[in-house]
């Protein structure tokens, strides 16, 4: 128990502690927030500058409200006007005119609305045709500086007010709008769903297998007296020291011999045996008072009853720890699948592989890459949240003095 100190100095220290902790927490959590935010943005929003954390989409009105047919039309505004404009047609031919006598004044109109007078004028040493165009209801003389394509904007409140402007110079009217279809798109169109299924399958098999083999092995090493037990245990534990990179080539050869290349079995079978897990379970079982087992023996319980009805329920915290580590390892494993699974076989891909492929192939669709990342990182976070209460709880000794 901690002793609570009082007084202004202690309060200040505590406040500073919290500020520091909150700051660090914010720094740690920020990438996750960015990932989640980006995963729900649409293709335009991801390139908006300055970037925002809240996904936004263009505001629209129905096409009929401006007297045309088709999809809902987006809303825009212009710096020189308070009115809201509807982009009715975003691909019209536009001519840019500059008024004679006031060359800074740019007049953009539909290309058909400029009427050639036949006169010419010299601008920067070149002969240009003179046109008559309408500016604020008055016909003025101008020359055509360029032809381009842009949008036809109609004032939402005044259908007679029509402007021809470049779309990228207009300011879109935006609102909160997450694009959740990113997820379905990445899962279905980008085939991440199959990879997700594979990963879940591989992870469940690896975690289940690890728990089973670790319980059996750990119990044997902890409680069954057989010849050479301690030396075998030392050798087994020593295998933890062998780095995985050393094993890649022999393991690959082995998989080749067994015929499991490009097969999920190669991602599962070699990993259901874990020296670390066996060690973890052994240490736990060694710590369970012998008397509990002896009491069960006197109750005429068999070895397997003792193991599954008494030791395993007691070992739940250790099993949860083991399961969490096994889960994270299997879920995040990248290099071995990369070696074993053919890059041309999307049906055998696991999530980590699919994500790296997605990052390469859809590098312009950052939102989709992030959606894939969010899909990949949600299950581990959930598993951790679920399992963490077991990390702190240890019920093994509570039935004793």
């Amino acid at each position: 128990m901690s002793v609570k100190r009082k007084g202004p100095r202690a309060a200040l220290v505590r406040a500073l502690t919290y500020v520091l902790l909150v700051a660090v927490a914010a720094i740690v959590i920020f990438p996750f927030v960015v990932a989640v935010a980006t995963s729900t943005k649409n293709n335009q929003d991801i390139y908006n500058y300055p970037p925002t954390l809240i996904p936004r989409e263009n505001q629209t009105v129905s096409a009929s409200s401006v007297g045309v047919e088709g999809d809902p039309k987006p809303l825009y505004s212009f710096p020189d006007s308070d009115a809201t404009y509807v982009l009715v047609d975003n691909d019209v031919s536009i001519a840019e005119f500059r008024r004679l006598g006031d060359l800074e004044r740019v007049i953009r109109v539909d290309v058909t609305l400029g009427i050639k007078t036949g006169d010419t004028v010299e601008i920067d040493g070149e002969q240009e045709d003179v046109f008559v165009v309408e500016l604020d209801g008055i016909a003025v003389q101008a020359y055509r500086s360029r032809l381009t394509s842009g949008g036809r904007f109609v004032n939402l409140d005044d259908p007679s007010d029509i402007r021809f402007e470049l779309v990228n110079l207009a300011e879109p009217e935006t609102q909160f709008g997450p694009r959740l279809s990113n997820f379905s798109e990445v899962l279905i169109d980008k085939e991440l769903g199959r990879s997700l299924t594979n990963t879940i399958l591989v992870t469940l098999a690896v975690v289940g297998g690890q728990i089973l083999t670790s319980i059996l092995g750990g119990y044997a090493f902890a409680r069954i007296d057989f010849k050479g037990r301690n030396s075998i245990f030392l050798v087994y534990l020593g295998s933890v020291m062998v780095p995985f990179v050393v094993l890649i080539i022999p393991l690959f050869q082995l998989m080749l011999q067994v015929g499991w290349l490009d097969n999920l079995a190669a991602l599962i079978i070699p990993f259901v045996f874990t020296a670390y897990g066996t060690f973890l379970m052994r240490q736990f079982f060694v710590g369970v008072p012998k008397e509990i087992e002896e009491a069960a023996l006197l109750d005429n319980a068999s070895r397997s009853t003792i193991l599954w009805k008494i030791m395993v329920p007691l070992a739940r915290p250790a099993i949860a720890t083991l399961a969490t580590f096994g889960f994270l390892y299997a879920w995040n494993s990248f290099f071995w699948p990369l070696v074993i699974i053919n890059s041309g076989n999307p049906d055998g891909r696991v999530l980590s592989l699919a994500l790296s492929t997605l990052g390469g192939r859809s590098s312009t669709d950052v939102n989709l890459v992030f959606a894939g990342a969010v899909v990949a990182m949600t299950p581990p976070i959930l598993v951790f949240l679920f399992a963490q209460r077991y990390f702190v709880r240890n019920s093994a000794s509570s039935g004793l003095k």
């Binding site: 002896e294 005429n300 009853t305 008494i310 509570s398």
Partner: protein, 396 residues
């Protein structure tokens, strides 16, 4: 219910070292409450665990009922055991803990329920049936462990220091409850303890062990009044018996014992109880005086030659009596090269220290004795015990 018979049973751990139990011959009768007592390492727990089948018998025959059980696994012996730390299954409720053996035996659910509840009501656990062990107090856990044993209705109960984790008050209460339960069920009980008070109060008979050897098996009173050797004499009784290396001499027709300048005459009745005593005249003997064999001068009608004056190192007023601690300049009594000490429990090192021997006398509580006083005490030598210093055997 069954008798338990040790027939020259020995136990050696890992096939080397001294025998933990050395050729134990002991018959525990059907329905008897037998207490195994001794200092730690005396082999009492090992003997118990051999009955349970948790330790293998190295040599000899161990039988329960009329069947030799040396090679029978623990579950097939029809015995139940209560452990010192209770060994409850922490993840199971009280109900499941008590009913576990019946469940393993695949008894019908209704039977498990009724037998569990019967055992629980016998122990006053009914309202705790659905709690986990961690939500129980020490005494309640102890009861659950008892319930787990009772529900089996076994041939033999084994208890391995079941009360040593309880506080003193609860220990006294559980002591009488265990006695009561054993009486009601009539089941053979083997009870291991290092606490000689438990041994004295609980057992029909008490087996005292030391270094793997059985010292004496007898009812508690006999153990106290006719110890089979100097170890039993020192171990049983609290405060422990005072053991003094005295020189035995003849003075006229009387025998006198002298030590550290004190000389006391030995009553003839003691010589009747220890007929070998006259043979040891002129040689040292171990004089055993229990604290209650002393009385304040005047309280007992004893001749002056049975009195001595002692310096009071410490006076403990207990209310009904006063314990007078004193010291005599005398090498403490040794047996097999070891100091003979009282039990390793709560009495502490009451008998010996260095080249001095401590002496404790118990006198009536009405007397006021102060630390530092000189006090004159009468010795009821007719009750004294005498042992051979070479063998530790009584001189009879």
């Amino acid at each position: 219910m069954a008798t338990v018979v040790f027939n020259s049973v020995s136990k050696q751990y890992k096939g080397e070292g001294p025998l933990a139990v050395d050729a134990l011959d002991l018959t525990i009768e059907d329905g008897e409450f037998m207490v195994l007592v001794g200092p730690s390492g005396c082999g009492k727990s090992t003997a118990l665990r051999m009955i349970a089948g948790l330790e293998e018998v190295t040599s000899g025959d161990l039988s329960i009922g009329s069947k030799v059980v040396n090679d029978l696994p623990p579950g097939d012996r029809d015995i139940a055991m209560v452990f010192q730390n209770y060994a409850l299954y922490p993840h199971m409720t009280v109900r499941d803990n008590i009913g576990f053996a019946l469940k393993v035996a695949k008894r019908p659910k209704a039977e498990i329920k009724s037998r569990t509840e019967d055992a629980a009501s016998m122990l006053g656990l009914t309202e705790y049936l659905d709690r986990l062990p961690k939500a129980l107090s020490g005494g309640q856990r102890q009861r659950v462990a008892m319930g787990r044993a009772i529900v089996r209705n076994p041939q033999v109960f084994l208890m391995d220091e079941p009360l040593s984790n309880l506080d003193a008050k609860l220990r006294v209460q559980m002591r009488s409850e265990i006695i009561d339960i054993q009486k009601r069920l009539g089941t053979t009980m083997v009870y291991v303890t290092h606490d000689q008070v438990e041994a004295m109060t609980m057992g029909h008979r008490v087996a005292v062990m030391r270094l793997g050897l059985l010292q004496q098996v007898a009812p508690p009173q006999e153990l106290y009044h006719q110890p089979a050797n100097v170890f039993v004499a020192a171990f049983i009784g609290s405060p422990a018996m005072n053991l003094l290396s005295a020189d035995l001499e003849r003075d006229g027709d009387k025998l006198v014992a002298s030590f550290d300048g004190h000389t006391i005459t030995i009553d003839d009745r003691a010589v009747e109880r220890y007929p070998d005593l006259p043979d040891h005249v002129g040689s040292p003997v171990i004089l055993g005086l229990r604290p209650e064999h002393f009385a304040m001068d005047g309280d007992a009608d004893l001749p002056d030659d049975q009195k001595l004056t002692l310096h009071v190192d410490l006076a403990e007023a207990m209310g009904a009596e006063v314990h007078i601690h004193s010291t005599v300049d005398l090498a403490p009594v040794e047996l097999d090269g070891e100091l003979v000490t009282a039990d390793d429990g709560e009495n502490g090192d009451s008998s010996v220290s260095g080249s001095k021997t401590k002496l404790i006398a118990k006198v009536d509580g009405i007397h006021t004795v102060r630390t530092g006083d000189e006090t004159r005490l009468a010795v009821k030598t007719h009750l004294a015990h005498f042992f051979d210093p070479a063998t530790g055997q009584p001189l009879r």
